[in-house]
Structures are given as structure tokens and as C-alpha cells.
């Protein structure tokens, strides 16, 4: 989740510009070997581990358009739910809380990272 009043120091790394992550979507980045998915939820940026704890799907792919999506009920493979501030995994739809990194049904957690936005740049604290 975005932190306010922080000093962007060595602990923060710029991962994208705000433009590169349109609202309701996410990207995947590797920062010093750590895979992180960063999402834009109603203008707020959230960062969590990119690997789903279930079977290691890349969470940055959540929201990808399906093959022949127009012939299915829902358009995307999982995706960001801005209302509940969660992301559902593109493989089996486990729903991860973007603030806590928790999957409520199993009680499992994945890592979350602080984010910060300054001058249209998105930073993540490793």
C-alpha cells in the first residue's frame, strides 16, 4: 500500500511510472531477484509477491484477456477487484487481499511491499 511522508531512499526502488499501470491492472517486475506484482487500485498502488502460494502462478497475469474471451462468461483470467482491494489469481482464482497478502479461505499469506508515488513514478520498498 502507498506510504505517505516517506523519504525515497535506498530502500525504495522505482519500478514504473504511474502511466505504465492503468487503473484496475497490474504489472510484474523483478527487483534484485524478487518478483513483485504491482497494481493500481483506484489510483492507489499496491505491491505483493508475484508468485501465488497455491501453485506459483504469476499474479501479474491476473486480468489478462482470455483466448476467445467473447465466447466465455467473463473476459479475463482472474483480475483486480477494486471494490474489495483484492486480486484473483489467473490460474485457479484464489483471491489475495492486496493490503494484507492473505487468502482468507486457506489462511495462507504472501509478502506485501510498501509503495510510494512521487512525480508520477511508482516506488516499491524491498
Amino acid at each position: 500500500m502507498s506510504s505517505e511522508n516517506v523519504t525515497v531512499d535506498d530502500a525504495f526502488t522505482k519500478v514504473a511510472t504511474t502511466e505504465e499501470i492503468p487503473q484496475g491492472t497490474g504489472i510484474g517486475v523483478d527487483v534484485d531477484g524478487i518478483e513483485i506484482a504491482v497494481y493500481n487500485v483506484e489510483g492507489e498502488f499496491y505491491a505483493i509477491s508475484n508468485r501465488c502460494a497455491h501453485q506459483r502462478a504469476p499474479l501479474c497475469k491476473a486480468g489478462d484477456k482470455k483466448i476467445n474471451a467473447e465466447h466465455t462468461w467473463t473476459d479475463t483470467r482472474g483480475g483486480v477487484n477494486e471494490e474489495s482491494c483484492t486480486v484473483s489469481c489467473p490460474w485457479h482464482l484464489w483471491e489475495w487481499d492486496l493490503e494484507t497478502g492473505e487468502h482468507e479461505a486457506s489462511g495462507q499469506r504472501i509478502g506485501t511491499f510498501d509503495t510510494h508515488v512521487e512525480d508520477q513514478d511508482v516506488y516499491v520498498r524491498i
Binding site: 517486475v29 523483478d30 518478483e35 504469476p58 501479474c60 466465455t72 490460474w91 482464482l93
Partner: protein
């Protein structure tokens, strides 16, 4: 200190080592759009009935995966819908699958009411598969109409010799298990063509048509356990009714019935059979042959004639426990990798690289990823 930041490659979803292995996927569903499928129905009268505003007869299930997933998401097309060869190639690239064996995933056809219309859809499905997949170089498991063994043989005669058709796809269910002697002409033809019989779980028997499933209220019970029970019943029925004494070269692949029940079956079948062997002689095939007993222990047929698709693998996290389970389950002889694309129970081939049970045992990994499939398919 400057950090190194890199955007992740968005086309690869599985561990990169998967691309170094040959991976055969024995359960990849394609789903024709109804209009396109109907255009392949040859008989005008059947097409006319199938394309009325009522379409095929309604077969409602009592329950659906959508009730068990947040937001009512769909289970059937979680990954998308493959209609043509390029769709299959695109999906396989993401999963590192080299050889998908595609099947027409019309899994509720078996329970449709009218046999003539069902046969018409089966003919159409097989012709659709020939045009759109076989001719495009994708190995295909043709549809086998379980409800009409005579027509099943006719379809095998008509389609089975086509290069690229490598197996026959049908369904297991609790009503008429495949040990029944009415299927002998089908088995004979399958052996002649050297095709494995692929038996998939079927939407048709959820749970309203199965006493086992009548009071099941959750998707976990219905999908997770109704099918394995039906799968086991079919396996045991085929073994005890002597199918494999008559057709020792017949290979059967069970799809989506689970696989960790192998130890339960292998020990329990042998125990019960050895204690109560004397009703075998009055099963119809043994009556005809005059043999008194099975030619070998029931567990031997399980190992020799059956293959089990692994989706979803549900491998224990502890690799020592996983190894023991794999060993007890004859995994090196019986397990065949399957993804079940595009359903929600999709199983990308991750286990083979994340568990030491596989990374430390190359023979086992190769057997499950392609060796066992290569053994039973002419590919």
C-alpha cells in the same frame, strides 16, 4: 546502491526448466461454438431438430462451480475457449506443453435424451476435430459414443484411420460401467487401431443422477469425490469382469477421477479377490471361455492396463511423503500428465520443478511428462 529492475516476461507462466522437457498433455479440451458445430451435422433432419430455438435437450445440473467461487466466476472457461488450432498453440506456449492431445469437450452429451441426435452431434464433433485440429497437425482424441456401441465401432471405422487421430474419448459414469460385455466390439476395434480408451468424468452424472451424489451440497464433494468414486467403480468393474483377459492389449486412461487411490485399490482388490475368487467363473466372459479365475492378480491389471491423468496433482508439499505416495501409486508406470485446459482445475506442469520428488528423479519425471503417454499413443 542501485537495484536492478526488470519487467517480467509476460508470456511464460511456468518454471523455465519446463521448456527443456518434452511435455505431452493428455487432457486438453477444445470447445466448438454451437453454430459452427451444427454446421458439421450431416443429417438434415437431425440438424433441423438440433437447431430449433430449443437446441439440444436441456440437461440441468443441480450445482455449478460458479457458486463456489467468489464473484460467481466461471469454472468451465477459466482460461478461455479454444476453438481452432491457433488457440491451442497459444495456450500451450504459456504452459510449455509440446504435444496437447485435444478432445471435443462436450461432456454433457452422454446424458442428452435422444440417441439419434446424440449420434449426429458425435459425427459433427469428429468432423469438426478432423478439419480444425487433425488437419492442422494437432493430435486428437476422437469422440466415442458410449450410448451406442454399434455406432461407436462405425465411428472408429470412419475416423480412426486418419493420421493424427490417436485415441478415443468417452466418459466413465456410475450407470453402465465399462466392464459390461456390450462394449467388447468397441474394445476389439480399439485394440486393432492401437488406440487407448480415454474415459473422462462427465457432466451428465452430477449429482442428481447418481445416488452417491444426491445429498452433496458443495463443489468440493461433487467434483472432488463423486467422480473418483465413479472412476474407481469403472476400473474395478473392467478388471473383475475379465476385460483384460480377453483384451490384454487394451489401454485405458482415466481422466479427472483422481489418482491417489491407487494404493487403496491395489491392496484391497487383491485381498478381496484372493479371499472370494469363486464368483469370477460365472461372469459372462469367463462363462464363455470356461476359465475359473483371472489370469493374474487384480492389481497387475491396474498397473498394466490403466493410466491415470494427474490433474489436479495435489502433491504433498513434503517431498519425502510425495515420493512415497508416487511409489505406492505406481506413478512411474501409470501416471500421465494432463492440464485440463481451460477449466478452473487447470494443472500447469509446475510440480515437476518445484518438488524434489521429481527434480531428483529424472526417470519418474520423464515417465509422467511424456514416457507413459508415448507408450500408449502412436505419436
Amino acid at each position: 546502491m542501485t537495484s536492478s529492475v526488470r519487467r517480467l516476461d509476460t508470456d511464460v507462466e511456468v518454471p523455465p526448466e519446463a521448456y527443456d522437457d518434452r511435455i505431452v498433455d493428455l487432457d486438453f479440451h477444445v470447445n466448438p461454438m454451437e453454430d459452427e458445430l451444427m454446421s458439421y451435422v450431416e443429417d438434415d433432419r437431425a440438424r433441423d431438430k438440433l437447431t430449433t430455438e430449443f437446441g439440444s435437450t436441456p440437461v440441468m445440473g443441480k450445482w455449478d462451480a460458479a457458486y463456489a467461487i467468489k464473484e460467481g466466476n466461471e469454472g468451465l472457461y477459466t482460461q478461455g475457449r479454444a476453438e481452432h488450432a491457433e488457440d491451442v498453440h497459444e495456450a500451450c506456449e504459456m504452459l510449455a506443453v509440446d504435444e496437447p492431445i485435444v478432445n471435443p469437450g462436450i461432456n454433457n452429451l452422454n446424458l442428452q435424451h435422444h440417441p439419434v441426435l446424440k449420434n449426429a452431434v458425435c459425427q459433427a464433433a469428429n468432423d469438426y476435430m478432423l478439419d480444425n485440429f487433425v488437419d492442422e497437425g494437432i493430435y486428437t482424441s476422437m469422440m466415442l459414443p458410449k450410448w451406442d456401441p454399434e455406432y461407436a465401432v462405425e465411428e472408429l471405422d470412419r475416423v480412426g484411420e486418419e493420421d493424427g487421430v490417436v485415441a478415443a474419448y468417452s466418459w466413465f459414469d456410475p450407470k453402465v460401467p465399462w466392464g459390461n460385455e456390450q462394449f467388447d466390439p468397441v474394445f476389439e476395434k480399439l485394440v486393432e487401431l492401437d488406440f487407448p480408451l480415454m474415459l473422462h468424468g462427465s457432466l451428465s452424472y452430477w449429482p442428481q443422477h447418481s445416488y452417491i451424489g444426491d445429498d452433496m451440497l458443495t463443489w468440493t464433494e461433487i467434483l472432488g469425490f463423486d467422480w473418483p468414486i465413479h472412476g474407481m467403480v469403472n476400473v474395478i468393474n473392467m478388471i473383475m469382469r475379465g476385460v483384460f483377459d480377453r483384451f490384454p492389449d487394451l489401454n485405458v486412461v482415466i481422466q479427472e477421477a483422481g489418482h491417489w487411490w491407487v494404493p487403496f485399490l491395489r491392496y484391497r482388490m487383491d485381498e478381496f479377490y484372493e479371499m472370494h475368487p469363486d464368483d469370477i467363473q460365472i461372469t459372462p466372459r469367463k462363462m464363455e471361455s470356461g476359465e475359473k479365475y483371472l489370469n493374474q492378480a487384480p492389481s497387475e491389471y491396474l498397473k498394466d492396463n490403466f493410466y491415470l491423468c494427474t490433474q489436479p496433482f495435489a502433491l504433498p508439499r513434503n517431498s519425502g511423503e510425495a515420493s512415497k505416495m508416487l511409489d505406492l501409486s505406481f506413478a512411474e508406470e501409470m501416471f500421465v500428465y494432463s492440464s485440463d485446459w481451460p477449466h478452473q482445475t487447470l494443472d500447469p506442469p509446475t510440480w515437476f520443478y518445484t518438488s524434489r520428488a521429481f527434480s531428483d528423479d529424472e526417470d519418474l519425471r520423464n515417465a509422467v511428462l511424456h514416457g507413459n503417454a508415448d507408450e500408449i499413443l502412436n505419436i
